[in-house]
Amino acid sequence: MSSAQSKTLSGHLLKDYLSSFSFILPAVAIFVGFYIIPFYEIFNLSLHDWNGISAGKTFVGLENFQELMGDVIWWRSMWNATYITLIALTFQNILAFALALACNRAIHFKGFYRLVFFLPPVLSEIVVGIIWRWILNSGVQGNENIGLLNYLLNAVGLHDLIHNWLSDPNTALTCIAVVHSWKGFGWGFIILLAGLQTIDRRLYEAAQVDGANSWSTFWNVTIPMMLPVIMVVVVLTILGSMQSFVLILSMVGQGLVYHTEVPVTRILSAMTVTQRYGYACAQGVMFGLILVMVSFIIKKLSDRMKQA
């Protein structure tokens, strides 16, 4: 009797578990099929030599990684991504912070400014890239510069500055980094402004009572209170900028020149141009590990800063 009861009880429980599990089943099924298996495959393929078509894959061990360590273009692309990231960290984030500070007060048109500054982030990288490619166009028709920037430089007499902005190796990457910052500063602006608005007014009042000027208030109240939010923006900027590449595709395309290559465009080229799927995956794994390491280091640094 008691065994029969426990049997039906466990049957009930099992049914209950199964019906509960069915709630997560669609999510798990999609996740396994489109995330877990590709996750496994990227490691697996990175140990193989494969052209993406033939039935047989050749196991090559760590050869792809060995080749990658000596791949000059790969490390050059890593530096290019770092360069874009450094410009985003400094130029873009300082601009975002300055704008957030300017808007964090009783000021006219605050809503309007906020509306406009978040407009570039909602546009796609394709749209943004092609608009700027058009503005930076270095073509000439007759005596006229086709691109707006060169045309304006000519009009105001700065002939020396007229330039092949996107085909000159010396300026192409900087142009991309500036456009990347143009597209991205709105994110930092919104997040930093939200952070500024959570700082307790009384802290500022107390600083004022103590006779602090606005400069020392900024350094002793605003910056320490904002540190956690600033760290969020820094991490998002690094992870986002290091991996951004669609803007490069839309501004300069997947050229045969290497001065605008970043790791993800290298992965894309290895896959679609040279058809070395194993090598592409090895690059992905290596780049992923580097990003994990970087975010780990930043986490440690920010923990230490919080203690100080």
């Binding site: 669609p26 489109f34 909602v122 546009l123 669609v246 839309s250």
Partner: protein
């Protein structure tokens, strides 16, 4: 009386300061808006005038570029595709992630934590180049170059964050409410439908907005997975157009305007929600 000049000086200084701030903000505003204006302006010209005429407003407005892009440039098809992808992916993400988040938050079954942390871990680990094995698998599943394949991939992209966001919302549902519904004979599915979903409405709004943005603007998977013009969404169509013709700039600019307008209009209508969602999310994160 003697305080009056001091007061004026103080006021002048304040005006000066707010003047400088506004000049700074206005300059940035102009650099944000001008490229968009230039896009629309260039889209109204012809291939002959666009290179030489640099007037702020073109003399003649050629609206027919939009018609040409829409029909001959296939942008009508691309637009429809983008719409279909966005609608289905967003519905998919909301349904699938709310079911899962509800189970993670309110139901009990073995392995619950394991599966939940699997989604959390996926958000933490950056996996650049994951599109390589994904495309290989899609072709193996015979889902390459199909609408359903692209939709499933994009649902997968949005799932982890939505599950996390919705779970934090569902965790706040008062147990009394749930118990009362259960006593009234509400099934698990009924509680999800009648209590959990309405409770999480603000979170669902945020998910709908940001998923729509990311699907509408997505490029790389659309490029790698969709080869037929009849399946391409707008971003892919724009690049296809930019790459395959000797570039007709006014037409290209018209196609960019077509790709950007819906998202800009929606942004203008619901910008308060976007900024609120982003602000609260950032402070929590």
């Amino acid at each position: 009386m003697s305080g009056s000049p001091f007061f004026n000086k103080y006021r002048l200084w304040r005006w000066f300061k707010s003047g400088v701030v506004h000049v700074f903000l206005m300059t940035v505003t102009l650099t944000c808006l001008f490229p968009l204006f230039w896009m629309v302006r260039s889209s109204l010209m012809t291939q002959e005038t666009v290179f030489v005429d640099k007037a702020i407003f073109p003399a003649v407005w050629h609206f027919q570029n939009y018609w040409v892009a829409w029909t001959e440039g296939h942008f009508g098809i691309y637009f429809l595709n983008s719409l279909v992808y966005t609608v289905f992916v967003v519905i998919g993400i909301v349904l699938i992630s709310s079911l899962a988040a509800f189970a993670f938050s309110r139901l009990h079954f073995p392995g619950k934590n394991f599966f939940f942390y699997m989604f959390v871990a996926a958000m933490m680990i950056p996996l650049p180049g994951s599109f390589v094995p994904l495309v290989v698998l899609m072709n193996k599943y015979h889902l390459g170059n199909t609408r359903i394949g692209y939709i499933l991939c994009m649902i997968n992209v949005g799932l982890p964050l939505s599950i996390l966001l919705l779970k934090t919302f569902f965790d706040k549902i008062p147990s009394d409410l749930e118990d009362a519904a259960r006593i009234d004979g509400c099934s698990k599915l009924g509680i999800w439908r009648h209590i959990a979903l309405p409770f999480a409405r603000p979170a669902i709004a945020v998910i709908v907005i940001f998923s729509s943005l990311s699907v509408w603007n997505e490029y790389i998977l659309a490029m790698l997975l969709l080869n037929d013009q009849s399946l391409m969404p707008l971003q892919r169509g724009v690049m296809y157009f930019a790459g395959s013709h000797s570039v007709d700039y006014p037409l290209l600019m018209a196609s960019l305007t077509i790709a950007a307008t819906p998202i800009v209009l929606i942004y203008l209508v619901i910008q308060k929600h976007i900024i609120r969602g982003l602000s609260s999310g950032a402070i929590v994160g």
